[in-house]
């Protein structure tokens, strides 16, 4: 396959460029997935029935911590891609490991948050509000969980095969996915939590 050395490694072949382009198509579809969840959330958020409302169960401290952790992980994976582009595999691996650990920390906080909600009587079946809240948060959380497995698999491949045009391509695509999850979280943070606590 023809390799163009004027481009970064992850873009170096036609196939690599197409893979990245295809992933952007997937991300556009993901925007729509989360848009439908937000639509349902905004429609149902005041239908609390006999259960608690957002103002009663949302807490600023864990939510702010989750936000800062995810923002930092988005920054570290950005540094990882930069390290990859200057050919520093060691630094790249370190940044990717930090990113995944931050992702694990985020997930731990989110699981703790769900347990707190359930103890406060806000379960999936309590009201339309709690159901759509947990479905929206859960869909994002499931994406992060999938990302942790995906990222770990890429790290293993990177260790085994080194920095090739394939592994660079996969790592870059994974970074796109991770930044996208951060963007989705920003909207959850703003329009579910902060709006709910306003």
């Amino acid at each position: 396959m023809k390799i163009d050395h004027s481009l970064p490694l992850e873009y170096s072949t036609k196939q690599n460029g197409l893979n990245i382009f295809g992933f952007w198509v997937f991300l556009a579809a993901e925007i729509m997935l989360f848009a439908t969840l937000f639509t349902s959330y905004f429609t149902l958020e005041h239908r609390v029935g006999g259960g608690p409302s957002g103002t009663e169960i949302f807490e600023i401290t864990p939510v702010l911590m989750e936000t800062l952790i995810l923002l930092t992980s988005s920054f570290t994976i950005g540094l990882g891609v930069h390290a990859m582009r200057i050919g520093n595999k060691k630094a790249m691996t370190a940044f990717f490991v930090i990113t995944l650990l931050l992702g694990l920390g985020f997930l731990g906080l989110e699981i703790d948050e769900f347990i707190t909600y359930i103890h406060e009587g806000a379960t999936l079946q309590t009201s339309a509000f709690t159901a759509i809240l947990m479905l929206t948060l859960g869909t994002h959380g499931a994406h992060v969980t999938f990302g942790l497995f995906w990222g770990s698999a890429i790290l293993m491949q990177l260790k085994k095969r080194g920095l090739t045009k394939e592994t660079a391509n996969k790592s870059f695509i994974f970074s796109l996915y991770w930044h996208f999850l951060d963007v989705v979280w920003i909207f959850i943070f703003s329009f579910i939590y902060l709006k709910g606590m306003m």
Binding site: L7, Y11, G17, I20, F21, W24, V25, L27, A28, A29, I31, M32, F34, A35, T36, F38, T39, F42, T43, I60, L64, T67, L68, L71, T72, S74, F75, I77, G78, L79, V81, H82, A83, I86, N88, A91, S175, L176, H179, F180, D182, V183, I186, F187, F189, S190, F191, L194, K195, M197, M198
Partner: protein, 93 residues
């Protein structure tokens, strides 16, 4: 060591923290709903744009306008879905 921390990415990170702090104003200050939602809309969309341009490298290849076009089109459809539904179900229009 310093070549591992490019200025562009550090500035992007600092700016994203500033935007998060600005969004927190709606929690700590006593704003009206209209003021609060305006702050959130601005901080959230600027934050998303920042991630897209600085961290996702959306504009660096030849197909940049196809990528931007696709993303903006999808955001447009998303907004139509959200506000169209709100219009019918919540605002009774």
């Amino acid at each position: 060591m310093s070549e591992l921390f490019p200025r562009k990415q550090i500035m992007g990170f600092v700016f994203s923290l500033v935007l998060t702090a600005a969004a927190l104003a709606v929690y700590f200050l006593d704003l009206t709903f209209a003021q609060g939602i305006t702050v959130l809309l601005i901080t959230a969309f600027v934050q998303a744009l920042l991630q897209l341009v600085v961290f996702m490298h959306a504009g660096e290849t030849e197909d940049k306008w196809i990528i931007y076009g696709k993303v903006y089109f999808m955001i447009g459809i998303a907004l139509v879905t959200i506000f169209g539904t709100l219009l019918i179900f919540l605002w009774d229009m």
